[in-house]
Amino acid sequence: MSATVHGGIGQSLGRKEDARFIRGKGNYVDDIQLPGMLYLDFTRSPYAHAKITGIHPENALKIPGVLAVVTGKDLDAAKLAWMPTLMSDTQMVLPIDTVKFQGQEVVAVVAENRYAAADGAAAVDIDYDPLPVVTDPVKALQPDSPLVRPDKEKKSNHIWHWETGDKAGTDDLLKKSEVVVHQDLYIPRINVSSIETCGCVAQFDAMGRLTVWMTTQAPHAIRTVFALVAGLPEQSIRIISPDIGGGFGGKVPVYPGYVVAVVAALKTGHPVKWVETRMNNLMSSSFARDYHISADIGCTKDGKLTALKVKTIADHGYADAAANPSKFPAGLFHIITGSYPFQKAFVEVDGVYTNKPPGGIAYRCSFRVTEAAYSIERLIDEIARKVGMDPAEFRMKNFIPPEAFPFQSALGWTYDSGNYAGALKLAMKMIDYPALRREQAERRKKGEFMGIGISSFTEIVGAGPSHTFDILGIKMFESCEIRIHPTGKVMARFGTKAQGQGHETTYSQILATELGIPAENISIEEGDTDTAPYGLGTYASRSTPTAGAAAAVAARKIREKAQKIAAHLLEVSPDDIEWKDYKFQVKGVPEKSKTMADVAFAAYTNPAPGVEPGLEAVDYYDPPNMTYPFGSYICVVDIDKGTGQVKVRRFVAVDDCGTIINPMIVDGQIHGGLNMGLAPALYEQITYDENGNIRGNSFLDYLVPTSMESPHWETGKTTTPSPHHPIGAKGVGESPTVGAPAAIVNAVIDALSPLGVTNIDIPIYPWKVWQVLHDKGVT
């Protein structure tokens, strides 16, 4: 029997953090109570675009408990009315003279309790002079459009143009392609809707040192941003991310509330808490997606893909407040060639200002990868249909073959490893694909609408290598610091910050395997910038590819030193020692061995000559490449002709995330991620009327699917390790969110394809399907 270590890689270890979460003992920002703490609320703009002609806080200041108001003019005096976004655009903290979207923070009210703050916010009188509004990015690009950002030098709503690939070559090849499909796709604006909204508590101590407890996915980067923007010495800033109830990209940006809370704490000399309500969150926290895509895809008449061309308009609201790596204003959208070896490809994206909240963040996806995966997997189905091939057969014919890895995509990415046909074959076997097609044929004869949809997506995660990836200039490395105490117990700290992913469990499993110490003897800490090593945080499925790698490398550094100590204890040369079965053994003499705990004790009590006492290591890991998880999903839907309702009958998800650290956590990630893939396909969207009024700013109308809407997810795995990652892991949190929407939509379109339907824009609400059925004379 081979040796094991309790809680090592590959075991479904129960989540360590759940001991506090399931008992309601988590410590979230809103749990923090400090003596003398004040509360912050905002008066918000009822208009999407208006000039502020007067602010009258007098009535608010009369309310018992209201202590102060803060306006844009107050902030301007300290040069804090504007702040930079992560994309080097500018965004208002509080407006000085105009508001740009409905729900924008205009005046901050500070009070002794939360109720007085809300009463005060309701009592502030603000005079507005409404201005023309533009909410449609296509209209915003027309010369007669209202100008959203007259403060900018460029007098147009066009923010930036970005392109990559071979434009002329792609055009040429499309012209020569025997089959070409053109398809427009809209990927609507959605909000991540974490169960915990955003908030913070800001406190200055007597020495002027600032501590902010904050709902942030990237505490270290925030500290640096605060130092740069507010001019505070960085060692006088401490950012603490306590327990966080979901991030999904929504807790990467800096929000006005954070900045105003700090200013209010400075102004009043008291700690100040700001926690937004659900409606505040839906109205003004960063949105995701809002991509208007127009694509052409070509293939030969026997179904071999040739070229892909994609033009996109990206609606950013009034500021580009996306959270992408600096070089990529459209994120990693150019992963859009997906699982296929196109000869030529070209992608262009234009960012546009509108009178909507700023953003462009992810929604549980690695920088616009869902937009890319959704587009290519929808296009594949449409071109397969046009060629007259089964969509599974078409994919099998075109996949990048396993032996082609590392594979250079047409748009320049180097895919690390993959076996796309393997994943699709398994999914087809699990769902019995041929039987489903036979059933569908039978049902079609009876006039029933049943559909089967496939999505064979490729992800790109683990940002990222320092030659390409930075945020505001800071390279996207990640870190781990390990301290082994004399009794063989471990404290490890990371630059990432979990928001529900289970880092305390998975990181300790990596360390258990690498150090030979049971997982229960390993404690993991993240989120406190005073104690954790610097890192760029947790988003874009980057923690395992980057921090997980740092953990393994730091542990191996420990092992290197420990080997010398073990040799000292065993009275042999270090060269005669091998690490085997989670112990240091004298080569060929397994009974002569020392455990890591033995070595740790000696490191403090009996150090080897010439070896520093103690047993610690730190690693800052710069990944050599991204990792490329993938999967194949198959969805079966039935459509109710009388109501247009789409019912997901079955959903099989085969994922390949490389080495699996904790199968239970991976399954949990996949279940949750699939639900967040179901959401934009059938439920979630934020829309605005022509006056910029938000529609759907509460959970009454912003339809987050619950367990009741969730189908029974059937999951399967293939394992294709990453060749460049120390333990072969690739990251998994976002794959299902990226892969699921196309499978669901492909199934609906497949069901309706006998009627000549080629697209319905998501979310596919029953009324849209009913409308199609009605127009085609079915109902």
């Binding site: 009463d119 309701a122 409606m279 009454l700 987050v704 609400y765 009324w767 009605h774």
Partner: protein
């Protein structure tokens, strides 16, 4: 929730509650389960100065058959309808509706009286009460009066209830052999108000011929809508598919939907038609009708 300040009174009796309402004219609201009022207060769309809580009044919570009626106390929790064996066995229309009102959290708090007297066209129980031919007992400073459910709803959030009155009891004609009903609701997701919902209550004779029919519609007009033409079209028939389709079309004509985030008006009419056909089919078979 962060509402403006208000005073709270827990009334010990209906008369005490009425006293509090008359003593604070225009400023008091009755709080029962709070599942509609509290969201309105959260949004600051309602900011009553005084809340009169009737949920602690002991004798307002019951479900029982009494004489010709099934009587339900106004403060009875919606979930009690789900748990009631009597409702489950003899009042399928109510059982259907109670299982689809919002979600379990709301059903555990929300009351039957609150659901029927709030006047929101999205509430599910009013359509059931109209289809069943129910009546409401209302008490005010001058004593009790009885109002038929079909006369109770005047406009959105406007009912026959006077601000100083409290609805105390719902009275539903006692189930007889040969009666059956069904409530079909289409919602965007669990817990949502209906895109449209249809309540159908039928009585049939031994041959399966319809002798009484009630059809009412949820959330497709300013109030719950009675669909008497659709109901009448089923009378004296063992309804065929064509009859059911015709009833569905008449119900769709009775609907007055508006286009909103739940869908365009045409779609909602289509849903009313489909749900009416299906609910009538189910109600007829539950009443004992057989093909």
């Amino acid at each position: 929730m962060i509402p403006p300040e208000f005073d709270y009174h827990a009334a010990g009796s209906v008369d005490e509650a009425i006293g509090l309402l008359t003593g604070n004219p225009g400023e008091a609201k009755v709080l029962a389960g709070g599942q509609s009022l509290i969201p309105l207060m959260k949004l600051r769309l309602a900011s009553p100065k005084v809340l009169v809580d009737i949920s602690r009044i002991a004798d307002l919570s019951y479900i029982q058959e009494k004489g010709d009626w099934l009587v339900i106390g106004a403060a009875t929790k919606v979930n009690d309808l789900n748990d009631s064996k009597l409702v489950g066995s003899s009042y399928p229309l109510l059982a259907d509706a109670a299982a689809h009102i919002a979600d379990p959290l709301v059903r555990n708090m929300g009351t039957v009286g609150g659901n029927v007297c709030h006047g929101d066209p999205g509430n599910d129980l009013p359509a059931c009460m109209v289809a069943l031919g129910a009546q409401y007992v209302v008490r005010g400073p001058k004593g009790n009066r009885t109002v038929p459910a079909s006369d109770f709803y005047q406009d959105t959030f406007v009912t026959a209830l006077d601000p100083s009155e409290i609805l105390t009891e719902v009275q539903i004609p006692k189930a007889q052999p040969g009666t059956g009903g069904a409530y079909l609701k289409m919602e965007r997701k669990v817990g949502d108000f209906a895109i449209a919902a249809v309540a159908v209550q039928l009585s049939v004779d031994a041959k399966g011929t319809v002798t009484r029919a009630g059809i009412a519609l949820t959330n497709v007009g300013p109030t719950v809508l009675n669909a008497p033409k659709a109901a009448a079209s089923l009378l004296k028939k063992k309804p065929s598919d064509a009859d059911l389709l015709a009833a569905g079309k008449l119900a769709a004509e009775a609907a007055q939907p508006t286009s909103d985030l739940r869908g365009p008006a045409d779609f909602k009419r289509g849903v009313v038609q489909t749900l009416t056909q299906r609910a009538a089919t189910l109600a007829w078979s539950r009443a004992g009708g057989q093909r």
